[in-house]
Structure formats: C-alpha cells, structure tokens
Symmetry: C2
Subunit: 246 residues, 2 copies
C-alpha cells in the first residue's frame, strides 16, 4: 500500500539552548501518525540560513513532504523563507496576497505595517497559499513552511494534512519475559522474511511485568499478523506475557 | 571564549512513530546546557544503517562531540555501532573488555551469554571505554555512542560530559510590549554589531503581560550587557515590560 512520507525541520535556537521545550515536534509526530503519514526524520537545527538551506535541500529529496516549523517572522533570526528559497534555487519575491493580509491585520488594529512586517510577505517564488485566506498555509514544491508558535503550527499542520489520504498504520505488540539476547536471532530471521513489516524491540530495565516489548507495524494488518505469528512460533513456552493488537 | 559544540542523534523509529516520547533529546539539551556546551543539532532518525551512517559522517565534522542515543542492543534494529563504523571507515571488531563485561553480567544471573549478547561487544575499531569499568561509555574519535534506555543514557551522558570544562552561558531577556515588526530593524542592527552574542526574538499571542521576549546570550556577561544596552537605547519609551539577567 502507498505510504506517504514526511520530514519535519524545527528551526529553533530556543529549543537547542533549552529556552523553550519543543512542542511542534511532538505535535507533528502525533498528527502525521494519525494521518497515516510516515515520519522519516525530525531535525532541530539552529537559526542559520546555510544550515537550514542545506537540510531543506537534502531532506526534501527523500520524502513526499518536508514541513518546516518556525523562522517565518520579521526579525533577524527568521531565516526559514530565504533558506528555503536558496535550497530550491528560487528568488524571494513579495507575495501580493500576503501583503494584503498583513495590511488588513494592521488596519484592524488601527495601524499600518512597518517594512519589517511587510518583509514577512517575501516568500520563495512560486509559493502557493493554501486554505484559510486570512491565514493560509505556505507551500512551495514539496516544502511546507509552518509558523513556530505552537498554536499556529498545530492548526496549519492539521489543515494541510487533512487532505493527504494515507491508510492508517496497523500495529501489534508482544510483551516478553525474555531478555533480547534470547530471541534476537529468531527475530532477525522474521524481520528479514517480512521486509514490509517494521519490527522494533524495546527492552526495559525496571520492575515491569515484561522485559521486552516487540512491535510489528505495517499498513496491511494481515502482514502484521503473519510476521507476528512467525515470531510467536519461534519463541519457547512461557515467553509471552501478553499481546496487544492488531 | 572557547565554546565546545555538540550534536545529538537519537536513533529511534519508536520516537518517529509515536510509540515512545523521546526523553533523551530533552535530557541532552539540559545536560549540555548545564555544562556550557552548545548544542548545534538534535536529529531523530530511523533505525536504518545508511541513514545513520551518513548523518554521523556529516554531523561529527561540524561539532566537537557527536552523541548518539540508542541502537546499541542485540537485535536487528540496533544499527548504530555498524553505522558509526561505516561512517568512520573502520571495521567492527569484538572488544575483549566488553566481552568480559557481558560474560560477567550473565554469570551473575547464572547463565552464559548467547551469540546475540556477545554481538553487543562488536564495536568500531579503536573504540575507547571510558569511566565505570562495568558500564563504560563507548567513544571512537569524536563520536560517543550512548545507550537508548533513558536511565542509562542520562548516567553516561552526565559522566562523559562532567570532565568537559566549558564556561557557562550567560543570558539576559527583555520582555516587550511591542510587536516584533516595531523593533525588527533596530534589533537587526544590534545583532549585526554584536555577532558574538546570540540574539533571539520570541513572540507570543496569548494574554501574557508581554508580546515578545528578546534574549541575549554569550559566554561573556559583559558582551551580553553591551548588546542588551544597545538594543534598549533603540527602543521607544514604555516598550520594556521587564528584564531578566544577566
């Protein structure tokens, strides 16, 4: 089955320096998961144009959609739009509809926009404005440039991904009383025989009722079941504490 | 002043797929900050050898220390050690001291290690074992390979970085009643005139007492103060709600 893929690039000195806890990364993980979109990379990088530009060029080539978070405001540390323009080898151009939005926003507050405010309308040439006309999502090629404030990021990510139809992930887990080293060889064989099923093994070292959770995941529940049964068949009696799903 | 730099690479399908909330990234942010080490990138990537290998080669060239989190267990999804070996163009070799540790661990539990367990002793050639002899930190060149379980990750990261002396960061904040567009041009001038001071501007859109927090940060508190004063001098009366630090 088709699986859409995505990467997320959080532009944020404030996250890397511990001034703000990142809310956009966890929000993207949840939202993309709910949409059946596979997240292949979550990168938090500093507000440096050349670093963001290089990451955009590299990551967008590997996935269907690259989402950036933050760096789209009017101050010197807002480098995402020029970085995306540079990565796509497009000029920055002033977008008339965005200028109109900025003017109207300031008019409602009884003022006129500064040049710095209008600078937020300078976007990579060819940028599409999607959805809500007063607060549109900005996308160019497969790069979607989302705002940094978490309440705006969430709204725009949910709106943009609502129309990306991808079948849901189907997952199952087995909880085991064995340590990983006692089934690693068997699980490796199962993983090789079922390359279409993502299989993960997560040990824990506390007082839980199990020592390892082994997860099986695919878009096709029947493939999950086949891989899971193959693994169960290779386990000794008494190894399984419980199972969950699909 | 010298600033040590670091990048952190979380190896984790379980994080990207939303099965586990990442605890190691936030722990690394806090710990490195406390040590005065600047975190330049936090990457969460899937358990795929070629992707990890490429990221290790790229990121370690930009920073003093690259820390990896996870992927060092005995199962098929543990690809960090071979990925680091590949990135450094070193063979994987079985490390006798690690073999001894694994044997002893199993002996204490009345068993002998499986081949899968011993496989955890296969590390990039030249790997150094640092600190606690029964649970050493593994490092090769400037790559430090830390375990994924958060309780182990934290202990090893704290132990390894305890000896990396770097002066603490000195930070100050100004909380403003103005929107960003009203001071963006002035702040841009201050940022250009003080390239040794990291300046960030963080708007908020809720009912807080301020609209923007502007942060100034450097290793030298006097440089923070100089940049902060230059910005204050450019602000209109009544713009500042309060300030904090340095």
């Amino acid at each position: 089955m088709e699986t859409l893929t995505a990467a997320v690039l959080v532009v944020g000195n404030e996250v890397l320096s511990g001034k703000r806890a990142d809310q956009n990364g966890p929000c993207a993980i949840r939202t993309l998961r709910d949409r059946g979109i596979r997240l292949d990379a979550l990168l938090t990088l500093p507000d440096r144009l050349e670093i963001i530009s290089e990451a955009v060029a590299r990551e967008r080539a590997r996935v269907d959609w690259l989402f950036t978070a933050g760096g789209v405001g009017p101050t010197h540390d807002d480098v995402t739009l020029p970085a995306v323009a540079h990565a796509l080898e497009r000029p920055l151009v002033r977008h008339e509809r965005l200028v109109e939005n900025i003017r109207r926003w300031h008019q409602r507050r009884g003022g006129t926009p500064t040049e710095a405010a209008l600078h937020m309308a300078d976007v990579p040439q060819g940028t599409r404005l999607i959805g809500d006309p007063t607060f549109p999502v900005m996308a160019v090629e497969n790069v979607v440039m989302l705002p940094g404030p978490p309440e705006f990021f969430r709204v725009q990510l949910e709106a943009f991904t609502a129309v990306l139809q991808s079948p849901p992930f189907r997952a199952a887990s087995i909880f085991l009383a064995l340590g990983e080293d006692h089934f690693a060889a068997a699980l490796d064989l199962v993983a090789r025989a079922h390359p279409d099923v993502d299989i993960g093994s997560y040990p824990r070292f506390d007082e839980a009722d199990h020592r390892v959770e082994v997860t099986f995941e695919a878009k096709d529940a029947s493939r999950v079941e086949v891989a899971l049964r193959a693994f169960l068949a290779a386990l000794p009696d008494g190894a399984v504490v419980r199972r969950h799903g699909p």
